[in-house]
Symmetry: C2
Subunit: 223 residues, 2 copies
Amino acid sequence: MKKAGGEGKRGMLSRCLILETALRLVDAEGVESLSMRRLASELGVFPTALYHYVPSKAALMRGIVEVVLAKVELPGRDGRTWQERLRALARSFRGVAHAHPRLLPQLVAYPEATPEEYGFYEALYEALEEAGLDAAEIVRASTLMFSYVTGFTLAEISGTLGPLTKAEREDLVSLPHEKFPVTRRLTPHISGVDLDENFEFGINVLLSGFAATAERGVGSPQQ
Amino acid sequence: MKKAGGEGKRGMLSRCLILETALRLVDAEGVESLSMRRLASELGVFPTALYHYVPSKAALMRGIVEVVLAKVELPGRDGRTWQERLRALARSFRGVAHAHPRLLPQLVAYPEATPEEYGFYEALYEALEEAGLDAAEIVRASTLMFSYVTGFTLAEISGTLGPLTKAEREDLVSLPHEKFPVTRRLTPHISGVDLDENFEFGINVLLSGFAATAERGVGSPQQ
DNA sequence: ACCTGAACACCGTTCAAGT
DNA sequence: ACCTGAACACCGTTCAAGT
């Protein structure tokens, strides 16, 4: 656990290098392995040296989150339809999440207001406006879209969704028929989910839901 | 920071008391304040005593999550329509989340397979079956519902949604018109969101989306 | 069985130096 | 300005006792 490479003693440190190294550490060993001391030893430096570039561990985490969020590709107002752009945005976020699964919980729970996040919302708003929604509907539809995409990726990466482990299958099969009749009947379909298809199903429902509310012309009074 | 009350020296400890006290601590001061040492001192006991009832801190967290998840009310197969039951289930989860906001991140990210969670899914499956979806659609619709509800509550409690603070409003107003035209135009609507209405809007879209896929009779090939 | 007490290998952060 | 070094107040967990 000495220094990672042959970094020189001075001037080699920078906020960028610190963030990149921290992200690598999180990707490799998880957020719980990221500590100021561990990160410092990885950089071949004393823990206290980090505080010249980053005021606290919380700020370090915030910095990593920003770096990752910036990787989400924002669709420009090009030739594609608003449906295609929303779908591309959703897929891009999910892709970035899969590239950094161990950071995802912090990624979705940070109340950030960075320009990157506004760019994310601008793309959402712009597509939903083209869909024909009014101002109030755009805001609500955007949070629906945002909530679904973040909720789904978090669930799949946490292991709540997806193909079951052997132990989980056994748990499922041992549930009493009387209390869990539908679950028991669905067992084969539950263990055989395709997460990509499942994700797209949700996007389909949302996109046609947005089209329907736009057609209806006014807020959705359907019950 | 001595003992909380006049608890006797022996036989007063129990797994249940430990979990309840830990939950109170998390609710009051946040997950980052929960430590085995702090919890022990709260109970007037040595840290190591806890290990007779709980094998590790991870198991402690898992226990608290189970206690909270058990508070979600599962709608029985009563007189209500499937729409009303799904809505009730969604609202109940959101209500429990609001009662323990500081635990929510762990609540949604735990890949638990407790009977309680199966009860949650059984209620979802049962309602979606009554809606007329086939087996594959039920599974997909249930994860859509689950993802939206958890994603939304997490976003609102993290502060990503909801009425803006003064600082956030200023940030928003200072965004350049050229890069964020739609965001700037929507500013008044963004800062004035009603989260309850926003949540229900999403539920409405999902419920009518489920009804539409059921009518169509087959998986959704709408583009 | 249930709790104490000491110990080990860690934390984040502050503060006073050194160069 | 940038890094060291020591220090402070914490961590989770193990292990050998005590009762």
